[in-house]
Symmetry: C2
Subunit: 126 residues, 2 copies
DNA sequence: ATGGGTGCAAATTGTTTGCATTTTA
DNA sequence: TAAAATGCAAACAATTTGCACCCAT
């Protein structure tokens, strides 16, 4: 298998149904194990290509750099650990958020982000 | 009144109970009317000072540059217009979001952002 | 040799900071 | 005239892009 293919496959393999949203740097670090020496530029280009192919989607969390996760998951939101910085997927959604908008405003979508400590960091913090 | 004071007051005056969250660039543009020639560096430094004084708070919306708004408002969330880019305050909160987090996770705060068209842009779009 | 894909470095954007200069007391 | 604050430009971080180079066909 050629290098290009190995790099793309290494990146594609990072996105699984159970995986958490990954930042470009996290993607590079992990892909580097299977495709040593992969550059950040290639990570960005590959991620962009996979996004356009509809395989992954961009996830924007407040105050955070963009993350990416597998596309096609059911509607969900995210949890951002304020200690380790990792993002996690959370299930469930209160719904009816469109009613919060002022009259005349058209709501197309919404994002909910919970901030706090993930189970690992909460345990360490006691 | 000296120049420093005029600049700081011009910025401070932008933050009102009814105002919407403003980005550094919006702050510079508006402050420039009362304090012509104000530099972006001064805007950033003043905003940081006002934040440390507890007069304003930073608002982070997904995929957006940081905004600032008057501190001390009651708990609320934001609406981001996908057309004009302006951010608006929205009232009300579904509550009980902490229950969405996985077991062992500690939720300290949450952010809800609605995306769509503000009343002005919705009207133009027909 | 031809085209696709890569790495490096330069360009961009948003934000911060060092420093000489200006302003104020 | 000494302290405080400003503006400009350089420094940074994240992301994108131009370009020379390399590999596979």
């Amino acid at each position: 298998m050629d290098r290009s293919t190995r790099q793309r496959d290494a990146i594609r393999a990072l996105f699984t149904p159970k995986g958490r949203p990954l930042s470009p740097k996290e993607i590079q670090e992990r892909a580097d194990r299977e495709a040593p020496g992969i550059s950040l530029a290639t990570v960005y280009r590959t991620v962009k290509a996979l996004e356009e192919l509809g395989e992954i989607v961009r996830v924007e969390l407040p105050g955070e750099t963009a993350r990416y996760e597998l596309a096609g998951k059911e509607h969900h939101h995210h949890f951002q650990c304020e200690s380790c910085g990792r993002a996690f997927e959370i299930h469930g959604c209160p719904g009816g958020l469109g009613k919060l908008a002022p009259p005349g405003f058209q709501v197309n979508r919404h994002e909910i982000t919970l901030f706090g400590l993930c189970s690992t960091c909460a345990r360490k913090a006691g």
